[in-house]
Amino acid sequence: MAEANVSHNQADYLALLRRMLLIRRSEERLSALCREGKFPGAVHLYIGQEASGVGACSVIEDRDWITSTHRGHGHFLAKGGELKRMYAEIWGKREGICKGMGGSMHVADFSKGILGANGIVGGGFAIATGAAFGAKLRGDGRVAMCFFGDGAANQGTFMESMNVSSAWQLPTIFLCENNGVSEFTISSTVTGGKLVDRAKAFMPTVIVDGNDVLAVQAAVREAVERARTGGGPSYVETTTYRIQGHLEAEDAFLGGGTYRSAEEISAWQQANRDPILRFQAFLTGEGIADAADLAAVEQSVLEEVEEAVAFAEAGEDADPELAFSLMFENQEA
């Protein structure tokens, strides 16, 4: 496990752990509840990739922006989005962060710089680049971080956005979460060359162990500093793994087919690879936290998850009229 460049106090470390755990436990809960049909629609879970989003978001501020993906719960929570309002959204309730109009694939909180999960693969490239352009024009030092997957890296807007960001030296951070799969396709079978080489044509690049939260933090911190000080865009690739299926209830889609082995999945769940187990071992190994500290974090996370479930379930159904009144500002659709 990488050591971060700057010193941390225990609280900082435990905050990282807590956010990763919050993602993990809240999504495990979603996985179970999805099977029980407790909420509508599909969910794409981030389990196994928590260190990437949490590490990256730990070094940017509220005023900075992120764009996220269809697998957006983790980014939403990592950037400080409220779990209970996210759950209420997934449940389709009017207390939802998007009043039930968006659902899992569209959780957004603009007040916290979360410009939205996105159902269009690659949809975030241009949005993040536009926000970064805005920051550059304002000269206010804000940065825009675009999360995307290895599958999305085959969308042309990846290159287009890198080009604009590079030509105009925008504070865009291209954060590629390389989990090796796009839906049920092993990405290497549809990918030419190495993703990082695409970015090298435009900007500084780095590949980090995406399951090492401190390594991600360190790499992204450097990119953020570069961006804030006018040094232009960066590409950070986090190598990670998606533990769950592409979406919950994936089996229903696969019709008996397979695209990866149970062994492979289980290898990534081992203590030496799982981002949370690794970080917990690091904390105790380094004497930063003890078992009781970890248990306390776990406990508090579980409580938050339970409260969020209760909040979502107690929520009121979304208001159908909003579909008409919210399309435009001050104008009926």
Partner: protein
């Protein structure tokens, strides 16, 4: 007649046409494992040179479909959801739809694009659109929208044998629906509507996903003494104007039901045909039951509020057929 699910019927059509013509190839994201089930088993039978997973790059896939026709292939491109048609829209609108005319008819464009469309699954705005109005407006592309298993199979087979570009839009919510499919080499021609139900009081013109709720509405209305004729267009390009006008001549009343947004949607276009060529037959206003001019909201209650259903259709019909007055 075997009973097949809608999605299986599409799968059957692909199997048969790939067997029939070795120039038929299938490409798309995750077609090897079949995201919707419609391409299931093709990989095992035909291998990577006939069916192939592509990278995620809709803008290039649509243009590649055109390019591959130069080598003599009939390309079946699966685009998953209709919303992703927008992602690959440039080559569809600027190349595929125009290339034959622009080249003075030098080429044929044997391209079939498949995409699921429509709401009902809480898939939210970016996975629930119906893209057929935008496609219909391009002029150079045929658009088939089967409502049942037999038509799904027959229309797709016709599309694949055609030398013109066509879309086969799958009603996303209907994939599991069972239906009889005629034995043998079942082909359904483009531009021939089906009379899904006969009736004399009002005509319901509809297509694809909306045929079922239209029939449900007709059934309910029948109990009230209103006999609706339900016309299933099957293809919206070409469109069977004669069938629409013939039914209208019989009933004098028209409700158009379609799962696309109202403004410049398919419903308005059909209503316009009636208001022009069918004017002499019209005894009442032409009503449209379709999607209001909004994005599809996520929450089921809100989604249901914007999607057409049997009840909304029946209400529209009752509004123009007053048995008391008649």
């Amino acid at each position: 007649m075997p009973r097949r699910r809608y999605i299986q019927a599409i799968n059957d059509a692909l199997f048969e046409e790939m067997e029939r013509n070795e120039n038929v190839i299938v490409i798309g994201e995750d077609v090897e494992l079949a995201i919707f089930g419609d391409t299931r088993g093709l990989y095992d039978r035909f291998g990577p040179n006939r069916i192939r997973n592509t990278p995620i790059c809709e803008a290039t896939m649509t243009g590649m479909a055109l390019g591959a026709t130069a080598a003599g292939f009939h390309v079946v491109l699966h685009m998953m959801f209709a919303n992703f048609v927008y992602t690959g829209f440039d080559a569809i609108a600027n190349q595929i739809a125009k290339m034959r005319l622009m080249t003075g008819g030098q080429i044929a464009l044997p391209i079939t694009i498949i995409a699921g469309y429509g709401g009902g699954g809480s898939n939210a705005a970016q996975h629930s659109d119906s893209a057929h109005p935008a496609l219909m407006n391009l002029g150079g592309i045929n658009v088939a929208m089967p409502s049942n298993s037999a038509d799904a199979k027959g229309l797709l087979k016709t599309a694949i044998r055609s030398n013109n570009p066509s879309f086969l839009l799958e009603a996303s919510a209907r994939g599991g629906q069972m239906g009889d499919v005629p034995d043998g080499d079942h082909l359904v021609p483009f531009g021939k509507a089906a009379i899904a139900r006969e009736g004399s009081d009002v005509t319901i013109v509809t297509v694809g996903s909306m045929v079922k709720p239209s029939l449900d509405a007709a059934k309910a209305l029948s109990e009230e003494g209103i006999e609706a004729e339900v016309i299933d267009l099957r293809t919206v390009v070409p469109i069977d104007e004669a069938a629409i006008l013939a039914s209208l001549a019989k009933t004098g009343r028209l409700v158009v039901v379609d799962e696309s947004r109202d403004r410049c949607g398919a419903g308005g276009y059909i209503a316009a045909i009636a208001a022009d060529k069918g004017f002499a037959s019209l005894k009442a206003p032409v009503k449209r039951v379709n999607i209001p001019n909004v994005a599809i909201p996520f929450a089921p209650i809100a989604e249901a509020a914007v999607l057409p259903d049997a009840n909304k259709i029946a209400v529209a019909v009752r509004g123009i057929v007053s048995k008391v007055a008649a």
